[in-house]
């Protein structure tokens, strides 16, 4: 009963925040609403017994995405173009109403269809539960991500790489100082915070990676937490944007894909199946590589610059 009440409040909160994201006049407010939306989503994942997703949503969906949105808003605003309020009222009244109606219709249809769906026996998920033992991990999500559907994970890393490549390609006119850099806050408190938080984020990332085999966690969550540490360093000016990507960064960016695919190819070359990782050690090795690549990609994407360097 209490569970139902919590779910209801959560659901109402999510819908209200979504509405606010779309409707609020100020763009900053919209971004903030979206971040809170992400946090509530993370709670919803927890309520839906998907703690892996709760972690990922909090770290990536709300955390990194929110930070990206905020910093972009800040950069747009700093150039004297506050995207804030130039837009409302919406495009035009006559377009708003049909759009709203179409969206509402879609809501009704999708909702109705979803409610009608019966449970199907023998899904891929059921098979995954049954055959989890073959992978060598006990967390089924990790099992699917790095075992049964490892190929998806690999391609997803390629997507992340593509996003960084794309961002670097469009940021060709990078000039130092063109983007309002982070405020270099030299206050004792911030220093203290960093000296605590960054090691903790590394610790947490390693923990999540290690735990991923049997409990909620894994490379993505760990990578996001690690990235959060990097983002903090960047925001507080310990790291700054550099016009070139250093060699180490380049290696780090492709590490995940390279280790993953070479491992897969190696297995195939020795007579196994492509991408069938030989045991848990291989999974942890690949996950470590993935974690480093994910963290580095996210920080670089956040910096919106080709590379990073330490503040001189």
């Amino acid at each position: 009963m209490i569970g139902l009440a919590i779910d209801s409040v959560l659901a109402l909160g999510i819908v209200w925040l979504a509405l606010q994201t779309v409707r609020s006049v100020s763009m900053l407010q919209a971004v903030l609403m979206f971040i809170v939306f992400g946090l509530l989503m993370s709670l919803a994942w927890a309520r839906l017994h998907a703690p892996d997703l709760a972690l990922a949503e909090a770290a990536i969906g709300a955390g990194i995405t929110g930070a990206l949105l905020l910093v972009t808003w800040r950069r747009l605003q700093a150039d004297g173009h506050d995207p804030v309020d130039s837009e409302l009222p919406a495009q035009s009244k006559w377009l708003t109403i049909p759009t709203a109606c179409a969206a509402a219709l879609l809501i009704v249809i999708v909702g109705w269809i979803a409610l009608q769906l019966p449970a199907v026996p023998g899904t891929a998920g059921d098979l995954a539960w049954q055959r989890l033992g073959e992978i060598g991990v006990s967390n089924p999500v990790t099992g699917v991500l790095l075992g049964f559907r490892a190929y998806d994970t690999l391609m997803e890393m390629a997507v992340l790489l593509a996003a960084w490549l794309g961002a670097r390609a469009v940021a060709t006119t990078y000039r130092p100082g063109a983007l309002p850099g982070p405020v270099h806050v030299e206050v004792p408190l911030v220093g203290a915070l960093l000296s605590l938080v960054v090691p903790i984020s590394i610790l947490v990332a390693v923990y999540l990676l290690q735990a991923g085999g049997s409990a909620p966690g894994g490379a993505f969550q760990g990578g996001a937490v690690l990235a959060a540490g990097g983002v903090l360093l960047f925001l507080t000016g310990r790291l700054e944007a550099a016009p070139r990507t250093s060699g180490l960064e380049r290696v780090g960016l492709i590490l995940g894909i390279a280790v993953f695919s070479l491992m897969g190819l190696m297995v195939m070359a020795t007579g196994g199946h492509m991408l069938a990782l030989p045991g848990a050690w291989a999974i942890y090795l690949v996950e470590t590589a993935l974690l480093l690549s994910i963290a580095l990609s996210l920080v670089l994407l956040f910096a919106a610059a080709p590379g990073l360097r330490r503040m001189s």
Binding site: A124, F148, L165
Partner: protein
Amino acid sequence: MTTEALVGLIFLPLLGACATVLPGRLATRAGVLAGLLPLPWLLVVVTLAVVQDPALFVELGGFAAPLGIRLFADPLAVLMLWMVAIIGGLAAVHAWFDFPPDSPAGQSFWPLWLLLTSAMNALFLSADLFNLYVCLELVTLTAIPLIALAGSKTSVRAAMRYLLLALLASLLYLLGIALLYNATGTLDLYLIRTALTAAPPAAVVTALALISLGLLLKGAVFPLHVWLPQAHASAPGPVSAVLSALVVKTAIYLLYRLWLWSVPAGTLAAEHALMLMALLGAGALLYGGVLALLQERLKLVIAYSTVAQLGYLLLILPMAATAAWPVAWQGGLYQLLSHGLAKAAMFLAAANILHALGSDRLSHLRRLDQRQPLSLFTLAVAGVSLMGLPPSGGFLAKWLLLEAAWRSGQWWLLAVLIAGSLLAAAYIFRILAASLGRDDPTEAQPVAASRSIPVIQDAAALLLALLALGTGFAAAPILQFIEAGAPAAWSTP
């Protein structure tokens, strides 16, 4: 051996892309060469295997579907892979000069290009609906930065619009997949067929509608084509070529897979859906043709021509329920092939013209036969195929389509096909006429002198055009190959 070749088609460009990111002067060069050069050889192996067995499955990780992800190669997939290898390869040759691997531009270009190649190969081979979503996103997120590499305001605007619509399209697709998975318990394109009959029809129809809508949006099918012309016209030449010849086709390819392989024949009001899509195709053919006729820039004419020519690919769908299906299928695929070759040739030639003349306005093309004879020749030869005039692959495709339309008694299709090819003739000849024009003696500004183009760039474009022409003579073996994997016709009601 075949498994290795199939895997190599995806992983070589992927690892090549990784290599191009690495530091070192030679890394980019080595990555590009290692990622692209072996592809045709691998394809020969795959082709030979598919000739033996027209439905080739490879289970990744050794997990059988629906648990694992499978790769699937059949004649259709192999045809698409060949197009990626040939068109992508020649476009890469062309790009080598505009984006030298050592230059900053090349550093941006080549990793994305290789990832795009890998993504398209993966997409054409994948048998898993969610994996296809990932591949689609990868294609989108590599193609769009390549557009923006042109650097102009127009190109960035086009890229931004394309990105927003592509993301919307992906989400519609994903929603459809979500419903399908929960209605059937599988994501495998080929296993889902049997499961769909047992699933609740309302859910399946909604899911199929959402997926198709997303794909139609990605495939720039009229009236969802708004993003395409500017994006394709403002991209760098080789990118335009690949976008028009291959990237938009990925969505059409998936529509084929979905409706002709996954949906059980004749169920779920599929006939109406196919008819609807064919009507959209007809609209595309006519609207795109008229719009192409009204453009003032060469690249925009070619881009609108893509909008139009995609229509042919949808027109064949309603014939799945008729006895003319084998012919229609052959015609559709031949159109896919010849349009790809011709369109890539035209975009590369247009890029050469743009480089040489500094403009691609039709009014600036006069005396092109003196200034850029090879480019004009390329445009003309590729144009012949695009118009469907003999001797060319486009002509054979049109012949097959007409024959199929006639055999199936779909007279309106016949009319649309004819109207489409006449419109194509009109806009192609408009380009040619503009190119043969003389200098106007009353005009103050003489035509700008033309800059010289590396001969390889001209040759790449010309070779593609000649291939389009050559497909007019090599149809017999290709069609025989295609026929082996044609989806079964629906039993006529």
